[in-house]
């Protein structure tokens, strides 16, 4: 037995535990449940609810299991009459003030207090005086408050302090007047803030959009994956008779731990938006009319067939891997290489240096273990809140985390350096010069005459001195007019400082779409196409007989595509939503399901394949995208299109890719890269957090947040 282990007994069972562990960790590990409210494994210990009192031999009082470290020879009794009496006594106190409004409380049926009251509460209270009443707060459009129900566990307060990094909620007053509130009247705005809904053990903080719309016991919990960022947070959809009522986190320590972003939690509202396209529609003589699937698909097949190698396909980077793969197969069958998912990219000059897939360069969980990080061209809190959280954890551990970004952004930790003054390209060149890249032929031209500022030198030093470090390129870098130069510089810095090079890529599935061959220059698996197709910007602005838009709306998703100047004879869109821009630019609209209405696979930024089943009944006549594409393939007489289910699509691609993991990083080197033209015009480069895709743009509650309002006004 090692020195840092102790032997103890839990309810008579011998147990070994690590020295310094709290009793509750040990009892949890051996399955001896101790009731608790304030304790949460992701938060600091508060020891204030006093529900987890257990009996410890020789202790003069019952001890809180959450705050008592184990010791050698300790004998713990979690269910002894003495322990139970102490737990019941606390419960009796809590129930004095807690309202008995479970029938009208959304938390009813999934309430920690209600559950424990069944085990530890009395049927009738011995206290008959008035209950404490607290005025409710309006803390924004996402979280509802019923503060009379609050039991002061302070999980929400600690979440703000410790996880979000900003104490949006706190306690004011003392004694029985203690209240949880924002210190001044304001909304809670952190991108992870709604996790307090899950943390709240009672119905004090609840899901505002979900309010009064279902009961916990009538909904089904179905696992799926969040569709907005490259993390692929694991989520559960709570579904009532085929309708998604809310989204909650599905714990996965390797990916999102127990958290999800507010974007992932509330975007489901858009599934039931009035903008949903409920039936195929076709434009004839300038008039839109409903049509049926059969004729709609027939029309699309005819137009694509006729377009052949000149057909263009643009798909959302949040399309499933199956959808991307089938689109790539259809393009291949048509003989057209004009397919792309990199919709917001402007500079394709070094696309041959793209990796097989824009991977993070390390596992998500490893991000919090780095000693140095340099995030280039990313407002990472908005692009991938979970990755920002991991970086914050790294910084709190002592990692030096720096940023180069034209956009100002506040991080709730000590940022090592924030380079923004001189423009992205100049700042990056400075860091590269400081890192000693001047002799690297690929950046030699870019570094001519560059001398590093003190701040740039500190960034370079933070990477080269770190045990493990990473340089991350974000969406702003990808969208930048000088993306090629930026990436080459970043790669050079990473190389010179022995750092990993990674990408915080667009959408939920840039990795999957790349692997599936939804690219004009590469096939599935990464082989170069014989004839290179047009890249996204060229497709969007180009001319041709037919264009298929998949899950992408002209304008916000395809900025280069101008409805009024479309160069295509025929435009079709497979889309969950209608929009004015779509109706102005398309001839055919095919309703496909959102992430909740289809099965599929997202490959996240660490290359993790996460497959999910459809969780909700499709709205109207919407059909899962892969099914639409399968039928389209059949109508086009494409070979090998007889898939029974999406798993077959996935498995075919997966078999094609083989077992070698894809390469990330940078595939170039040696060849000098020129700086592209164009400035850091942040307004064009930064896509506001709640504008990234059609779902979030139509998520009502999210759109009422200050973040969304700022985003709309800024656009």
């Amino acid at each position: 037995m090692s020195d840092d282990m102790v032997n103890l007994e839990v309810d008579g069972r011998p147990v070994q535990a690590r020295k310094g562990q709290m009793i509750i960790e040990v009892t949890d590990a051996v399955g001896a449940y101790v009731p608790r409210f304030c304790y949460h494994e992701k938060l600091s210990i508060a020891a204030n609810c006093r529900m987890c009192l257990v009996q410890v031999e020789k202790a003069p009082k019952p001890l809180p299991a959450c705050a008592t470290p184990v010791g050698e020879g300790m004998k713990i009794f979690t269910r002894s009459p003495y322990a139970i009496a102490a737990q019941k006594a606390t419960m009796e106190f809590l129930l004095i003030n807690h309202p008995l409004d479970c029938p009208i409380c959304d938390q009813g049926g999934e309430c920690e207090l209600q559950d424990l009251a069944m085990g530890y509460g009395r049927d009738v209270s011995r206290y008959t005086e008035k209950k404490r009443v607290v005025k409710d707060k309006d803390i924004g459009p996402l979280v509802s408050t019923d503060m009379t129900r609050c039991i002061h566990c302070t999980r929400c307060v600690r979440f703000g302090q410790e996880i979000a990094g900003i104490p949006e909620l706190g306690t004011t007053h003392r004694g029985e007047n203690m209240k949880i509130s924002t210190y001044i009247e304001k909304s809670i705005d952190h991108e992870l803030s709604a996790n307090i809904i899950d943390l709240c053990p009672v119905g004090a903080l609840n899901n505002k959009p979900y309010r009064y719309s279902a009961r916990a016991w009538e909904i089904e919990q179905r696992a799926t994956v969040a569709p907005h960022d490259c993390v692929g947070s694991n989520i559960y959809a709570h579904v009532l008779r085929g309708t998604v009522k809310r989204i909650v986190p599905r714990p996965n320590e390797a990916v999102n731990e127990t958290w999800i972003s507010d974007r992932d939690r509330f975007s489901y509202e858009a599934i039931y938006s009035a903008d949903r396209l409920t039936t195929p529609r076709v434009r004839e003589n300038g008039e839109w009319r409903d049509t049926d699937w059969e004729s709609a698909l027939k029309l699309l097949a005819e137009k694509l067939q006729a377009a052949g190698k000149d057909a263009g396909i643009l798909l959302s980077p949040s399309s499933t891997t199956e959808e991307a793969y089938l689109l790539a197969k259809i393009a291949g069958h048509l003989g057209s290489p004009n397919i792309d998912h990199r919709l917001r990219r402007q500079d394709f000059s070094d696309q041959d240096n793209d990796p097989e897939a824009p991977l993070l360069g390390l596992e998500i969980a490893a991000l919090e273990q780095v000693d140095g990080a340099f995030v280039v061209g990313s407002s990472i809190r908005r692009e991938a809140p979970i990755l920002a959280h991991r970086l914050r954890k790294a910084a709190l551990r002592g990692a030096r985390v720096s940023f180069a970004c034209p956009e100002p952004e506040s991080y709730h930790f000590g940022v090592h350096e924030y380079l923004s003054d001189a423009g992205l390209l100049t700042e990056l060149a400075g860091v590269a010069a400081a890192a000693g890249c001047a002799s690297n032929p690929s950046v030699r031209d870019l570094l001519a005459g560059v001398s590093a500022t003190a701040a740039q030198q500190r960034v370079a030093a933070s990477l080269s001195e770190a045990g493990s470090s990473v340089v991350l390129l974000g969406a702003i870098a990808e969208r930048h007019p000088a993306a090629a130069a930026l990436r080459t510089l970043a790669a050079a810095i990473a190389g010179a400082t022995d750092s990993a090079l990674g990408y915080v890529s667009e959408g939920a599935n840039s990795v999957g779409a790349s692997l599936a061959g939804a690219l004009p220059h590469r096939e599935a698996g990464g082989a170069a196409r014989g004839a290179k197709g047009r890249c996204a910007a060229e497709i969007a602005t180009g001319k041709g007989p037919a264009l298929l838009l998949f899950g992408a709306e002209p304008g916000p998703d395809v900025p280069a595509f101008a409805s009024e100047k479309r160069g295509y004879g025929f435009v079709a869109a497979c889309t969950p939503f209608r929009s004015d821009a779509l109706e102005a630019s398309a001839d055919l609209l095919l309703p496909v399901g959102t992430f909740a209405e289809t099965s599929g696979t997202y490959v996240n930024c660490e290359g993790r394949w996460q497959s999910f089943a459809g969780v909700a009944r499709p709205v109207g006549e919407a059909r899962p995208g892969w099914k639409v594409l399968r039928v389209l393939g059949n109508l086009l007489d494409a070979p090998d299109f007889d898939y029974e289910n999406s798993e077959e699509v996935r498995d075919e691609l997966s078999a094609h890719l083989g077992s070698t993991p894809p390469k990330g990083g940078y595939a170039g080197g040696g060849k000098p890269v020129k700086a592209g033209a164009g400035s850091d015009d942040a307004r064009r480069l930064d896509v506001p957090m709640y504008q990234v895709d059609g779902l979030v743009r139509r998520a009502t509650a999210l759109q009422r947040t200050p973040e969304a309002i700022r985003g709309r006004e800024g656009c």
Binding site: N48, P62, A89, Y127
Partner: protein, 519 residues
């Protein structure tokens, strides 16, 4: 100017509230009218004889003659009776040191208090001041630590934890910074020893903190002073400034190579901030909420760094422990309660004030021999020791020796040494109710038992007094108290039931139904 007379009028809160400032003004103008008389008015601290305040002393020919209590209107008569020559008057008390109340005490920590101008650096040094820290610099930290351990000095804030052990933990901890945090949030009712010391001999506290810092390797000290002590704040603030000016604080203290400075921090009127972890939170600028332990403040205290948290009297006892050796202190006291304690007599007592004696005397002796019985002259019915959360003791327990262990065995706690006396007109049910009410007002609100139990405790007592379902409610009160004792996060909720339960135990009749009028 042939002769110079020194006249002492305390500048101490109790004396000032009883008119000491007006007395001082009257004396000065009387001296001015008295041509040829050079009177040096000294504003000393209080000797702790609060029942005699304002206690005026006149030093003539090496003797300090005391008069008191002096009202401003007494001054003319006193001067006429030859006050400046030590003349006799109805208010004459004879030589100050011979007043039995004082003469029978054994002063250690308070030996300088009340004797001279508390801000006079010369007076302090003349009375052995800064010899403790000087000796500490000679001995080195580990030898100083041994003296503190050997002295058996225990925390005077109430918990009675051995100071040396705490210091040793902090000294052994490895950290880039360590702190000394002096708890001067003297919030217990009936206590005033911290205040009398800070107002009467502030350099002792500064010296004690210096020694503590030197011993454990801390370079910064904080005094957390309650805002209700404005005079102490002025005196302490000036004392710190003087000490800094004379090189006793700051970098390289008196060329010792040791850096130490003190910051005076004012509380905001919260009782619970006298609990050490809430005090640390408050010092950090946060709301005064209790922190759970572990980690002990000695390991992770102020700003997460190893911190000595000691009461004013604890720290102020240290300079002489180092100066005279730990054994000298340990020779006083009884059992495991070594040294002296400055008891504070208050409430319905004839001679209220501060009595520093070795541990071991009985409560009765304090109340009768020093206190002179009740102020009302009626029999003593109950005594509360150790602040508002201390148990109420009936007459039958007054012979309990005042040491930590013996007192605890009798169901009481010595705490900070405050003794509040009640005569036979006291309504103990009202006192029990007050304990709960006090807790409901002062609870930080963090933990369930204290936050909810205190509010509901008041209600249950009201039901009992209202003769509502008495038996069931008495049982409920008992269980409520048990929940608070067993489950509370800190001593606030854990101790509140003690006055309640002791009142119920010793004075059950007061909880009987009332038929109008008094009990």
């Amino acid at each position: 100017m042939s002769r110079s007379v020194r006249v002492f009028v305390p500048r101490e809160t109790a004396a000032v509230s009883l008119g000491a400032d007006e007395v001082a003004v009257a004396l000065e103008s009387a001296a001015q009218r008295n041509h040829g008389m050079a009177v040096e008015l000294v504003r000393n601290g209080s000797r702790g004889l609060s029942w005699l305040e304002p206690l005026v002393e006149v030093e003539t020919g090496g003797t300090r003659t005391a008069y008191g209590p002096v009202a401003p209107e007494d001054v003319d008569g006193l001067v006429a009776a030859g006050l400046f020559e030590g003349g006799t008057h109805a208010l004459s008390l004879g030589p100050a040191e011979k007043i039995p109340y004082l003469a029978t005490q054994q002063r250690w920590t308070f030996r300088r208090v009340g004797i001279d101008d508390p801000l006079s650096m010369d007076a302090y040094r003349a009375a052995g001041g800064f010899e403790g820290i000087g000796r500490a610099f000679e001995l080195g930290p580990s030898a100083v630590l041994e003296h503190v351990i050997e002295s058996g000095l225990r925390g005077r804030g109430g918990a009675g934890f051995p100071a040396g052990i705490k210091w040793r933990t902090v000294a052994a901890a490895t950290a880039d910074r360590k702190y000394i945090a002096c708890n001067a949030d003297e919030g217990d009712s009936g206590t005033f020893s911290d205040r009398i010391l800070m107002e009467g001999d502030p350099y002792t506290l500064i010296e004690g903190m210096l020694i503590a810092g030197y011993t454990v390797g801390a370079h910064k000290g904080y005094i957390y002073l309650r805002s209700e002590y404005p005079l102490a704040r002025r005196i302490l603030g000036q004392a710190i400034a003087n000490a800094r000016e004379h090189g006793w604080l700051g970098t390289n203290v008196r060329d010792s190579g040791f850096d130490f400075d003190i910051e005076l921090h004012l509380g905001a009127g919260s009782y619970v901030c006298g609990e050490e972890t809430a005090m640390l939170e408050s010092l950090e600028g946060k709301a005064g909420l209790i922190r759970y332990k572990p980690p002990l403040p000695a390991l992770e205290g102020l700003f997460g760094k190893p911190t000595v948290v000691n009461n004013v009297v604890t720290l102020a006892s240290v300079p002489d422990i180092v100066r005279l050796g730990g054994a000298a202190y340990a020779a006083l006291g009884s059992g495991r309660s070594k040294g002296t304690l400055a008891f504070q007599l208050a409430g319905n007592v004839k001679r209220g004030g501060l009595v520093e004696i070795p541990f071991g005397a009985t409560l009765r002796s304090l109340i009768e021999d020093w206190g002179g019985g009740t102020a009302s002259g009626r029999p003593v019915r109950a005594v509360q020791v150790g602040g508002p959360l201390g148990a109420y003791l009936p007459d039958s327990l007054l012979d309990t020796p005042l040491d930590y262990e013996a007192f605890a065995a009798a169901g009481g706690m010595i705490g900070h040494g405050g003794i509040v006396v009640f005569d036979d007109t006291v309504d103990m049910a009202a006192q029990a109710r007050f304990a709960m009410e006090f807790c409901s007002v002062e609870s930080c609100g963090k933990c369930t038992p204290c936050r909810i139990g205190s509010v509901r405790g008041v209600e249950v007592i009201d039901r009992i007094l209202g003769n509502q379902d008495r038996a069931a409610n008495l049982e409920l009160l008992d269980e409520l108290c048990e929940t608070m004792v067993q489950g509370s996060l800190c001593a606030m909720g854990g101790l509140t039931p003690y006055p309640v339960k002791s009142a119920l135990k010793h004075f059950p009749g007061d909880f009987e139904p009332r038929s109008g009028g008094k009990r």
